[in-house]
């Protein structure tokens, strides 16, 4: 098939990339291989330009932006509470984490307090989101390196988590459940029994995954010693989450800069030793167990803890429906909030939390109006993909899929 020259222009020319590949690539001595954006194991629309010598990867040039949707710019045109719907669609495997970081930033900007019950619900949801995201990671990572059945097992359990999300918010994935000042609504009566069932069922399933993979010689061959990241490199590249901890750096935002009351929960931070793909697998599996611990504690607290599920500051949080019938003031607040929203003062805040794939940070700048002046998300996938060239250098091309899988990128998160 002949390629029209204007098609090539869309992807850049070799001269643009000459400083990123070795000079031998320009003479044709080494092979330049294009991988993506449509490739079954690139976890979305990631495009990698690989320079190969035989089968060994010498250089990798990632090309992102195929999913750049203009979310940050679009959020500037929306009111604060409208903009939350946009955050769901960034990291679509961890929508609640994105909701949480944006709501924490709003609350910090407008100085809004969150009642304790809402905090516990938020922690519960954030940890369920972590399980949800890690299950997709495990399924796709395993299918990439050849363990086909893992996807079916992981998605079986994931459906149950999505059912829980559906009970609380009515949506499976894009829940927009966490709102400024609390959560959208209180947990429905059906939620706690469903959660109990899930908590009884899930730990044995994690054991099942481990039984399938942890001592599996094929899995060990494909992952051990692949993609080693030293602690120094991990810190310099700004990596976070399981990738940083698998390299042995003890940094977890939930412990280091606690938010939403994480300091009151008892959980461990699993650490790796070698910083290779296998260690990252072990760390994430352990994280799933630790998340279960947190979920169990949160569920126990919720049984005792009665109270409001969102703040009663009427300037920022709409009044409950029951008040609308008898209080004129409530009607006014409701009307004001749904027609023009609340105003945030001039100033800038920066909040970081631990998302399933690393440190997600939100920079929010207000200008006194009801719309954000600037929203920026420091998203973990963006940083993780940046590290792929460093990690992949010297490996065989067959290991590239294992490296992409272990970095766990979500391209919506990366390109925003």
């Amino acid at each position: 098939m002949t390629i029209a020259p204007e098609m090539i222009k869309w992807e850049g020319t070799l001269e643009d990339l000459a400083h990123l590949v070795s000079p031998r690539a320009l003479t044709g001595e080494t092979v330049l291989l294009n991988m993506g954006p449509q490739h079954p194991s690139t976890h979305g629309v990631l495009r990698l330009l690989l320079e190969l010598e035989g089968e060994t990867i010498i250089n990798t040039v990632p090309d992102i932006g195929y999913l750049h949707t203009g979310i940050e710019k679009n959020m500037e045109a929306k009111r604060y509470e409208q903009a939350i719907t946009m955050t769901d669609r960034m990291d679509y495997l961890a929508p609640m984490s994105n909701n949480l970081v944006f709501c924490l930033a709003i609350e910090k900007l407008v100085e809004l307090d969150v009642p304790e019950r809402a905090q516990v619900i938020r922690v519960l949801m954030a940890e369920l989101t972590r399980l949800n995201s890690h299950l997709v990671w495990l399924g796709t990572h395993a299918i990439d390196v050849g363990a086909m059945s893992m996807l079916l097992y992981c998605f079986r359990e994931r459906e149950q988590i999505l059912e829980l999300f559906e009970i609380v918010s009515g949506q499976r994935m894009m829940s927009t459940y966490i709102r400024p000042g609390g959560v959208w609504r209180d947990l429905p009566p059906a939620f706690m029994p469903a959660l109990e069932r899930f908590l009884d069922y899930f730990p044995a399933r994690v054991d099942e995954y481990e039984a399938l993979l942890t001592n599996n010689p094929l899995w060990i061959d494909r992952t051990q010693g692949i993609g080693i990241i030293t602690p120094e490199d991990a810190i310099a590249m700004g990596l976070g989450g399981a990738i940083l901890r698998a390299s042995g750096v003890n940094f977890d935002v939930r412990k280091a800069v606690p938010y939403s009351g994480y300091e009151t929960y008892d959980f461990n931070v699993p650490l790796g030793i070698h910083g290779d793909t296998y260690d990252r697998y072990l760390v994430r599996i352990q994280e799933m167990r630790e998340s279960l611990k947190i979920i169990r504690q949160a569920a126990d607290r919720l049984k005792k803890l009665k109270g409001p599920f969102r703040s009663d500051n009427r300037k920022f949080v709409p009044p409950p429906r029951s008040e609308l019938g008898r209080s004129m003031e409530a009607v006014i607040h409701h009307f004001k909030l749904w027609t023009e929203g609340f105003k945030a003062p001039k100033g800038e805040v920066h909040v970081m939390i631990e998302s399933p794939r690393g440190v997600i940070a939100c920079y929010l700048s207000g200008d006194g109006s009801n719309k954000p002046h600037r929203v920026h998300f420091r998203t973990p996938s963006f940083i993780n993909i940046q590290a792929i060239p460093m990690v992949a250098r010297g490996h065989l091309i067959g290991d590239m899929v294992a490296i992409i899988g272990t970095m766990d990128p979500v391209l919506g998160d990366c390109d925003r």
């Binding site: 850049g12 679009n74 002046h373 963006f382």
Partner: protein, 172 residues
Amino acid sequence: MQPKRDPVTSLREAFPDAIQEVVEFRGETTVYVTPAALPEVARFLRDGDGLLFNFLVSVVGVDYLPEQPRFAVAYHLYSLLYGHQLRLKVRLNEDEAVPSVTPIWPTANWQEREVYDMFGIPFTGHPDLRRILMPVDWDGHPQRKDYPLGYETVQFSFNFDEIERNKPYAKG
């Protein structure tokens, strides 16, 4: 381990001329520095005793359009050892450039490319300053305040044909 030091007082001692302003807001400290002094200040913050800001969380470009200087670049720093945070901020005019901090924090590489792509702020000394999110032949820098959002109106009966023309492949 050296005892933790307050970054603002250390900076004031070491760079009395480079610090333009220090702002406290919601418990966050913002230090405004001149663009020329940025690499030195950054290196000092990363390596200084009792500071050790080794984790660059994010690089953010901001466009304050009616105000002058128009642009700002904010660097959010975190110290893995001491656990303190700081925001460095550089203000610049439309045609000014910022020195790159990629040699100091390698993670800044793509984040600065993103700021360049979205705002058109050039970073001097950057190893690979290309567009990162938008296509290579894109015109303009989308996140500038004078760049339109590119809103397409909703299709109603009165503008049905106009929108339909953009969708030549839609099957009735």
